[in-house]
Amino acid sequence: MTNTATGIVRALNSGIKHIATKRFTLRYPEEKLKFVGDGYQFDPSTGVGIAGLKGRHMLFHDHCTGCQLCSIACEGVAEAIAMVKVPEEQKQNKKSIMPQIDYGKCVFCGLCVDACPFYALYMTNDYELSSFSKEGLIYTPAQLAVKPYVEQDSEIVITKNGATHG
């Protein structure tokens, strides 16, 4: 236990040292954090996922069979997935139904991706989903098929003068 005077001087000194250390704050949205990979994916043949950010989904129309397993997986979690009719005709999708996701309800747990046995549903690095209306948060199968454009390059760099986002 230090005595009072030296204790206060040590505390002040510890704070003053921070003038020389680098700023750790990430200046979002000018800088954006870089994530590993292209988003969370799942390989049904091995039953193990591939690490990545759990962001907005991406749907591959040529793989989706309309089996509703993603919708069933979401039932006990958020009820965010609804199966809707799509105008296009895919030969593997007889019923022409595909998932439509309401991001006002989605909790981004990724259990729907784990449930998909046909490599049709993945998650991407896109997390900026804000909208002015509730309807704007509902993504139709056509919107989900678009690969998002993401520019994320900032990473944590540890230097002698402290950590920073570079």
């Binding site: 236990m1 230090t2 005595n3 009072t4 204790g7 206060i8 040590r10 505390a11 000194n13 510890s14 704070g15 750790f24 704050t25 990430l26 954090l33 994530f35 590993v36 990979g37 988003g39 969370y40 799942f42 091995t46 039953g47 193990v48 996922g49 591939i50 690490a51 990545g52 950010l53 759990k54 997986a73 039932e75 006990g76 979690v77 958020a78 909790v107 981004f108 747990c109 990724g110 259990l111 784990d114 998650m123 944590i156 540890i158 950590a163």
Partner: protein, 378 residues
């Protein structure tokens, strides 16, 4: 009318000197909870903690969902410590199903669990700092958490609610090159938290405010059933990672810190020492972890238990022992799920600690109990 009213609402005949104060339910601390205190001048005469404002019915919700879809909502009580909250549930379901988890998955779980413990304690420490009016201690932990949140984000893809543990292992393998990044950031994190000693723990102002306030003796700590950092601050060396090792904790060197004082200062210092210990455990786990191999056992869709069965598992969370009792009747949903949480058990000590203290010491004693309102209410 002599209807039985809750203690906070009952009309009581009191001395004119005694004033009743409602602290909360809305207050600057995290989570809603009320403390009804009776004060005589500046001294607390009696105190009645009143939790229950953030009750979410997690246990009842679990009865209507299958074993896999229970995962996202069961980690909501403590989103900062989500891996540890899920840990006993996942261990319990594994025992019900009779699954053996791959070795690598066990190590990944230990790493996630220790990272989450540090993330939780940093958040707790930030609020403890602001409770005492020490804004530097709010800014530094809140910023340095980012180092570990970044690691958890790389592992699981989510910053707070990871939903990473599943019965049978973990959702996905570690990303490539993770060991190196993890070691670098955890080493820097350890260096940073050691700097907190000068600005906070050795600071005479903190010491004068917390030392000898709210003293919980060793006997009382055991009698009241406290757990985790509160129990260890009173001189009882009881850590489930040592006493009942789960997963691979028996292969790792765990020396959980113990202090004898039992005052607010000891209770605030134990979590900090815990973090230093966690950094050592993470380094050991990274070293001993098998470099490759499966991380998840493939389960059948809709796993269910074998007939009437029950299992109780507990782990050491950021707030002490966290138990999960699952009763299965052979269906896809659990028949009953009961969580026994450290927060609620530690709250019981509050009325005993605050009696005779000054009102100004209430925040430092209350938050030093490592209490998380949302987890206590479940």
């Amino acid at each position: 009318m002599t209807a039985e009213l809750p203690p906070g609402l009952a009309i009581q005949k009191v001395d004119e000197r005694i004033m009743t104060l409602n602290v909360g339910p809305q207050h600057p601390g995290s989570g809603h909870m009320r403390i009804v205190v009776q004060i005589d001048g500046d001294y607390i005469v009696a105190c009645d903690p009143d939790p229950g404002y953030v009750h979410r019915g997690e246990e009842k919700m679990a009865e209507y969902r299958n074993y896999i879809t229970n995962i996202p909502h069961l980690e909501r009580p403590v989103i900062h410590d989500s891996c540890n909250v899920l840990y006993p549930y996942v261990l319990g379901v594994e025992e019900l199903l009779g699954i053996e988890v791959p070795e690598r998955a066990k190590y990944v779980r230990v790493i996630c669990s220790e990272l989450n413990r540090c993330i939780y304690i940093m958040y707790w420490l930030a609020i403890y700092g602001i409770f005492l009016g020490h804004s530097t201690m709010f800014m530094w932990p809140a910023g340095d958490r980012e180092l570990l949140i970044d690691l958890m984000e790389k592992i699981s893809g989510a910053r707070v609610t990871h939903a990473h543990f599943v019965p049978g292992g973990v959702r996905n393998d570690l990303p490539p090159n993770f060991e190196e990044v993890c070691l670098r950031q955890v080493n820097y994190f350890e260096k940073r938290i050691k700097e907190y000693a000068a600005v906070f723990y050795d600071n005479p102002i903190l010491i004068s405010r917390t030392q000898d306030t709210g003293v919980l003796s060793r006997e009382d700590a055991i009698r009241l059933g406290t757990t985790g950092s509160v129990l260890r601050a009173s001189g009882v060396n009881y850590d489930l990672r040592q006493k009942e090792p789960y997963d691979v904790y028996d292969e790792l060197d765990v020396h959980s810190p113990v202090m004898k004082e039992g005052d607010s200062y000891a209770r605030s210092k134990i979590p900090w020492l815990d973090m230093l210990e966690s950094c050592k455990i993470i380094r050991q786990a990274l070293e001993k972890m098998p470099k490759s191999g499966s991380v998840r056992v493939k389960l059948k869709p809709n796993p269910k238990g074998k007939g009437l069965d029950s299992v109780y598992k507990r782990v050491e969370s950021g707030r002490g022992s966290l138990g999960c009792h699952i009763v299965s009747d052979g269906k896809v949903e659990p028949y009953r799920l009961k969580l026994s949480v450290g927060s609620f058990r530690n709250l019981i000590a509050l009325p005993y600690l605050l009696k005779g203290e000054k009102l100004g010491n209430m925040p430092s004693v209350y938050w030093s109990l490592n209490y998380w309102p949302v987890e206590a209410d479940r």
